[in-house]
């Protein structure tokens, strides 16, 4: 059934809310409701509610859980405390990325992992392959969970209306388990993919519509609107967050992507360590750089980057930044060329000067 799209538990609500639904990573997902720019501003200024139930989930438990995860993940898992989460990459032996994920520590020997939708099946197979011979089980929980992202400066105030969980005390990347809008067994995590404050909520699939409705109701007076994957992409790009298949991939390593902070060479061994170490010490052949344009046109994925007449890279992601009011993007650029400056990008046959950016476009 190659053409069959999966539907999230919130699909009926999307239809009711008038979302524009598009195929994404095998799912039919809302790309927008009222409009990408309006939804983007809502997240920066008030709050947005995203259905991100297409994301995959796996549970890893057993005496060797830490051993497995510290072998497959570039970041350190042994030091992660229960109730906390950590961003990490899973690498191939050559340093390319299998996926980037968030690992939640549920207990001494139990972890919960949030996986990219397009990689979930591959990730679970990868984890199971490397679990062989260890005392650990990898449970596929993809269909068990729905996931909502409540993102924006009003997120905390809105969440307070539907739960008594002590989430206010949670620091970034900490989480609590409990009841949200009468739904038991939810996980509320102070994480997000937008660059605005907020929460990601994992909830039992069958409770998703009820909880989403309760949040939308509670948040409406505070400016909460439903937000789609279109705004999610422009928000994450402004924040400088990588997207698998763009800034990281099977051929773009975390070192190239500027994610060296999530690669812990202090660990004696993990998959990809030697290749990544060579890149980190010698400098990678190319690396990811963010840019903006003082132009009206957007440089999109695949657009060629030039230094003079020499092609030195290509665009990985590009969009209009609603916050800056101009085009932004990311590009993979050959070593030394970014620092030299004077780069241009080809947009439909015209060379447009690139303004390289040291950090994210929003703080």
């Amino acid at each position: 059934m190659p053409d069959m799209l999966s539907l999230t538990p919130l699909h009926p609500l999307h239809v009711e809310l008038g979302a524009r639904l598009v195929p994404f990573a095998g799912w039919e997902m809302p790309v927008q409701y009222s409009g990408i720019i309006e939804e983007h501003h809502a997240v920066r200024r008030a709050c947005g509610l995203f259905d991100v139930s297409h994301m995959g989930e796996a549970r890893v438990r057993g005496a060797d859980a830490v051993r497995l995860l510290d072998r497959v993940m570039t970041n350190e898992m042994a030091s992660l405390r229960a109730g906390h989460a950590r961003y990490t990459v899973m690498c191939q032996p050559d340093g390319g990325c299998v996926d980037d994920v968030i690992v939640y520590r549920m207990g001494d020997a139990e972890f919960f992992i949030c996986l990219n939708a397009s990689n979930a099946a591959k990730d679970i197979a990868w984890l199971r392959t490397h679990a062989q011979g260890l005392s650990v089980e990898v449970v596929d929980e993809c269909s068990r969970w729905a996931q909502l992202a409540l993102q924006g400066p009003k997120a905390e105030e809105i969440l307070a209306k539907v739960t008594t969980l002590p989430f206010a005390s949670l620091r970034r990347f900490a989480f609590a388990e409990g009841i949200v809008a009468d739904a038991a067994g939810c996980v509320v995590s102070r994480t997000g993919y937008t660059g605005s404050p907020g929460f990601e909520i994992y909830l039992p699939a069958e409770t998703a519509v009820t909880v989403a409705r309760a949040l939308l109701e509670a948040g409406r007076p505070l400016g909460l609107i439903p937000t789609g994957l279109g705004a999610r992409d422009s928000l994450r790009l402004e924040a400088g967050y990588p997207l698998y298949g763009h800034e990281i991939s099977g051929t773009i390593s975390p070192i190239q992507a500027g994610l060296g902070w999530a690669v812990k060479f202090s660990k004696p061994d993990f998959i990809g360590r030697e290749a990544l170490r060579r890149q980190a010490e010698g400098g990678p052949a190319s690396s990811v750089t963010f840019f903006s344009l003082d132009d009206r046109r957007i440089a999109r994925q695949g657009a060629a980057v030039f230094a003079g007449d020499l092609r030195v890279g290509e665009v990985l992601s590009g969009t209009q930044s609603p916050t800056l009011g101009k085009p932004i993007g990311s590009a993979l650029i050959a070593a030394g060329q970014a620092a030299a400056g004077g780069l241009t990008v080809d947009i439909r046959g015209q060379r447009v000067p690139m303004v390289l950016s040291a950090g994210p476009f929003v703080k």
Partner: protein
């Protein structure tokens, strides 16, 4: 359901053309097209005097999601491009058939418009 005014002619590529009393014509993109594009951020239009034959790319409309070529419905010469779209490209989303006309043209052959779709025929391709 997107709007399809009955007093215009259309192309399958979702452009509309409106004949004016002075014999010139205005060209823009349809409600269906703007809705499919989503938030328009930029419209790149030709200068006065530029000439096109039917099917030529005369400009580009860019949204957050994608850049799409604009095609000349009939052979024509540009009299004026709509400068209001430069400062307010979102007019394309708000008023696709009014404020967001894109080019005003002189037709090479005024009868060529009869080869285009009428509202009923365009509505049928949606």
């Amino acid at each position: 359901m997107s709007q399809v005014p009955t007093d215009l002619r259309y192309t399958k590529e979702h452009e509309w053309i409106r004949m004016r009393p002075d014999g010139t014509a205005e060209i823009g993109i349809t409600d269906h097209a703007q809705s499919a594009l989503g938030d328009v951020t930029y419209v790149d239009l030709p200068k006065a005097g530029a000439k096109f034959v039917a099917g030529d790319t005369f400009g580009t409309v860019e949204s957050v999601k994608a850049a799409s070529d604009l095609y000349a419905p009939v052979a024509c010469e540009i009299i004026e491009s709509n400068s209001a779209l430069d400062g307010a490209p979102d007019l394309v989303n708000r008023e696709p058939y009014a404020g967001a006309w894109m080019i005003r043209v002189r037709l090479a052959d005024p009868s060529s418009i009869s080869s285009l779709l009428d509202a009923a025929a365009y509505a049928a391709v949606l």
